[in-house]
Amino acid sequence: MRHLLSINDLSMTEAIEILDTATELSRLSEGAVKKFPTLRGRTVVNLFFEDSTRTRISFEAAAKRLSADVINFSAKGSSLSKGESLKDTALTLQAMGADAVVIRHGASGAPHQLARQQWMTGSVINAGDGTHEHPTQALLDAFTIRRHLAQGSGDLQGLRIGIVGDVLHSRVARSNVLLLQKLGAKVVLIAPPTLLPVGVEEWGAEVSYSLDSEIDNVNAIMMLRVQRERMDDLYFPSEREYSRNFGLNLERINAMKSDAIVMHPGPMNRGLEISADGADSPRSVIVEQVANGVSVRMAVLYLLLSGSKPELSSTLEVGV
């Protein structure tokens, strides 16, 4: 494994290896060891073309706990906002000796471009590209589900997970459907028809238009943020109606199975897809998801970066 671009790149064994490694790292970080010397001298660049708080901070914390050097490169206030191409940015990062580039980009496929073009030798980690994928989020969600519902090991066989809301604009949903199914869980997507992408039936997940009919039949419910910044059109009549039909409130949480958990990738729109008391309920593992994110990203960085480093292919013209 050299890059992490899509959940599709992972075999089930590799996915479980990441989760197992994260389990071990999180146990160590909770107890004895706060920092490992493992990636000393390696450089991780956070290349963020889109705003992000928790993903960037999470990757930064993960890299620092492994003793890597971290460079944050965000589009605002850098040459990226002056119109530098992705290629020139990549060549710059290569010249600076980046061992890994964590990239978030508004265009789906940008991380693939960066990895495939061989502009640089480092590993590329997709931290969210457009409406395509966000693999580390899916890994941390699977990690959280496994910890609560599968005694922290193995796969997710026999579990049924509901993913609710703005599936259309959600890279989190797509990565989660791929990963959860790979790990043996069943997924049901719950959303108004307008917020489901074309071709969703090919994802292999069940589809439902009613939250109330599924709420008592899932082991975990994952609420998606309504991505108003990506909505170029009217997708539902009003926020009140959306909230009434697809919002998670205390009443719905009480209808869930007794050990079912409530998840949200954040940032939340309190009062829209999840009510304030729902977000703060004892069933909610939303804050824990953030902590798990650091462990999972440490596992990904460790598995991608600790091995031997490949050479730049000789056919490549760099540093002209």
């Binding site: 490694t21 060891v33 010397p37 460790y302």
Partner: protein, 178 residues
């Protein structure tokens, strides 16, 4: 392939090591065993059983994975992490006995010392190994040795333990003539 230790000999070596640990530390108080996974962890559990029987006590025993501290991480594909379990009493001010199956270059133990450094400050660190095969690359020695086996670098020494290998035996493979 030749067998250099059979099940009975392994059991006797571990029993002797257990006595030696008690002798050196004047009993088992303040002693803590840390096995290095995979096989060192099984050996430490066996030595703990012996010590508990001799002293009628319950000695703290744990495991210490050294993968994150290896100096050859960049030379190989990434390795899977193995469990680290530090007993709840911690390692501060204890006599920590590291336990591994085969003692070779000494690099594993160097990594273990680095790992211990992150966890606390033991009063002393000692090393028990089932097999010492020589070829040290670092100035590190063992305090308790099951058996010294002179080897050439081309040979490989394998410790089989019934917990995972269905039998107790130590074998040497790749020896020129048998």
């Amino acid at each position: 392939m030749s067998v250099v230790l059979n099940a009975g000999e392994i059991a006797r070596a571990l029993k002797r090591i257990s006595h030696e640990i008690l002798e050196k530390n004047h009993g088992s108080s303040e002693v803590l065993l840390l096995g290095i996974p995979t096989r060192g962890a099984f050996l430490s559990a066996r030595i703990a059983r012996e010590i508990n029987e001799i002293e009628n006590t319950s000695i703290p025993v744990g495991t210490l994975d050294i993968t994150m501290y290896r100096d050859d991480l960049r030379m190989r594909p990434p390795r899977t992490l193995l469990p680290t379990e530090i007993p709840s009493c911690g390692i501060d001010d204890k006599h920590v006995v590291l336990i591994d199956d085969v003692f070779y270059s000494g690099r594993t133990i160097r990594a273990a010392l680095d790992a211990l450094n992150e966890i606390g400050r033991p009063r002393s660190v000692q090393l028990a190994v089932l097999i010492d095969r020589g070829h040290r690359e670092l100035p590190i020695r063992a305090d308790f040795v099951g058996k010294n086996i002179p080897t050439s670098k081309e040979e490989s020494v394998r410790v089989h333990l019934s917990e995972i290998d269905n039998e107790d035996a130590v074998t040497i493979e790749g020896r020129g003539k048998e």
